[in-house]
């Protein structure tokens, strides 16, 4: 006998997406530093920063970049506790958990720092070798710190980006950065219809849960889920026809025009120059080219 856990999880997943959407609208409307930038400049500089993070090799540089993201969050009037929780509760902690075995000499050989377990002799099995002493290595620990720092810095900027801009602005920014119009139009429409489908699934799941007195077998529940996916697909095909006809009736001929007007100011160019110069200095100084 199956429980209704699968319905609860479906409803919870939908609620999380709706919550994220609401938060992004709330903070994007505040009068903060990042919110005031021209979206094209923010998009371009954040992409540059994400690429820069991937080129950095030392924890010091990565934490400097991470620190910059925290400062930007403060100047953009994002509640700090909320921001730190959003960043750390997901990817970095998950990453820290999966990196743990990699700090041991089983994965990253090197100079032992702390011996955890001792065996009588090493064991070799195909490509796998378990040494006589399992220990945390200096090299493993350093690799782990660099990895988690990199992920934390990247996630921090990605979260900051989604929290400071309305989703419609992000798509407009992509258009301003010469991303093909058809792709931007598709992404923008996807975001809109996503919530129509989420509402549909939410209604179906709630209706099912409210009718459930005694859960059915897992097999019957799986068939019900499959039928809901089928129904969602049929509705999506019908909707695409209706939307296309509605677009045609409004004079659409296959060309996409945008009503967005971008307004770049001196501050945007100053921000761009600051990010490029600071990033360049950080990269060059890390590689030891500036003494």
């Amino acid at each position: 006998m199956a429980s209704t856990t699968f319905l609860d999880k479906t409803l919870l997943a939908i609620a999380r997406i709706t919550e994220q959407s609401l938060f992004s609208e709330t903070y994007a409307d505040r009068r903060g530093f990042l919110q005031a930038l021209d979206i094209r400049f923010q998009l371009a500089t954040f992409l540059f920063i994400l690429v820069l993070i991937s080129f950095l090799h030392t924890p010091r540089s990565l934490w400097l970049v991470y620190g910059a993201s925290v400062l930007l969050a403060v100047f953009s009037r994002i509640p700090l506790r909320f921001f730190l929780m959003r960043v750390w509760l997901f990817v970095p902690i998950f990453t820290a958990a999966i990196i743990l075995p990699a700090i041991l000499n089983v994965v990253t050989p090197g100079d032992n720092l702390w011996v955890l377990v001792k065996f009588s002799h090493p064991v070799t099995w195909g490509p796998y070798r378990i040494p006589a002493e399992i220990a945390v290595t200096q090299q493993g620990l350093r690799a782990g710190v660099v990895f988690v720092s990199r992920v934390a810095a990247s996630v921090s900027f990605a979260v900051l980006f989604t929290m400071t801009r309305r989703w419609s602005d992000i798509f407009a920014g992509l258009r301003g950065l010469f991303v093909p119009r058809i792709l931007v139009m598709t992404l923008s429409m996807t975001e809109r219809y996503l919530f129509v489908f989420l509402r549909l699934i939410q209604d179906m799941s709630r209706a099912r849960k409210s009718r459930t007195i005694r859960p059915f077998s897992a097999s019957i529940e799986r068939n019900w889920i499959a039928s809901r996916i089928g129904v969602t697909f049929r509705k999506s095909v019908e909707m695409s026809e209706d939307v296309y006809k509605a677009m045609l009736s409004r004079g659409f001929h296959g060309e996409f025009r945008s009503i967005n007007r971008f307004d770049s100011r001196f501050a945007d160019y100053l921000w761009l120059a600051t990010v490029l110069i600071a990033g360049g200095i950080l990269l060059v100084s890390e590689r030891g080219m500036v003494r």
Binding site: T5, L7, K9, T10, A13, I17, Q20, L47, L50, I53, S54, F55, V91, A102, V107, T108, G126, P127, R142, V146, F147, R150, V151, S154, V155, A158, T162, W167, I170, L183, M185, T186, L187, M189, T190, E191, Y193, L194, F197, L198, I201, A218, E221, R222, N223, A226, S227, I229, G230, T232, F233, R234, S236, V237, M239, S240, Y244, M247, F252, G254
Partner: protein, 222 residues
């Protein structure tokens, strides 16, 4: 299977963008010829459908639940090239708006899940389904096998990309800079969970949805 930012080095994520862009270009070209002005609403709603498939949790064993990625199912329902774009759009939205999967890793994630998921899945489905009737059981089996194979190929590629990092990207003192596990760990770790669990969930959902559509809307499988 979504690779986050920081797991792949610049050489790998740049190469994955370079590999994926031609597939997007071919898919756009083919869809432009067949769908013309209709393509934006058709693909957008296909992408929204690709996104929401992952919302459906199904009961597995005991209290555990799982969800499908749906790439093969969408390829069977919309066609392989529409699926490449629809699943890619869903992945891009997940990365840009929800922070699910890295922005630098969009190329790799789209290749693994959208390109391989859709093309391998559709290829295997057509191969097994051959000229069988729309209502035949062979189609259901074909969908299940195709979904299982394509998800496992996607997982294998993800494992290879992650497992290559310690070989490709090391510091001057020899430490890994990105995903630290070698191929001998990354590939079995990803392959095993998909061979034994997620692949079976994907196959089951794909088969059940095809069976439902056979009974209720057989024209959609035409």
């Amino acid at each position: 299977m979504h690779i986050p930012d920081g797991y792949l080095g610049p050489a790998t994520y740049a190469a994955m963008y370079a590999v994926t862009i031609p597939f997007w270009a071919v898919a756009s070209w083919k869809l432009n010829r067949t769908l013309k002005a209709k393509q934006a609403p058709y693909l957008a709603i296909g992408a929204a459908f690709a996104f929401v498939i992952m919302m459906f949790n199904i009961p597995i064993i005991g209290g555990t639940t799982g969800h499908a990625t749906g790439a093969t199912l969408i390829a069977i329902l919309l066609g392989p090239w529409a699926a490449v774009i629809a699943v890619s759009a869903a992945i891009i939205i997940q990365a840009l708006l929800f922070g699910d999967g890295g922005i630098t890793a969009i190329g790799a994630n789209c290749f693994n899940m959208a390109v391989v998921g859709a093309l391998v899945g559709y290829g295997v489905y057509r191969l097994i389904a051959a000229r069988s009737g729309v209502a035949s059981r062979r189609r259901v089996a074909a969908g299940a096998i195709a979904a299982y194979v394509s998800l496992n190929v996607s997982a294998l590629l993800t494992g290879i990309e992650l497992g290559l990092q310690p070989m490709l990207e090391r510091s001057a003192s020899g430490q890994p800079l990105y995903a630290p596990y070698p191929l001998s760990v990354a590939v079995p770790a990803l392959a095993l969970e998909h061979l034994l669990l997620f692949g079976i969930v994907e196959a089951a959902i794909t088969a059940l949805v095809i069976r439902y559509i056979q009974k209720n809307d057989p024209d959609m499988l035409g």
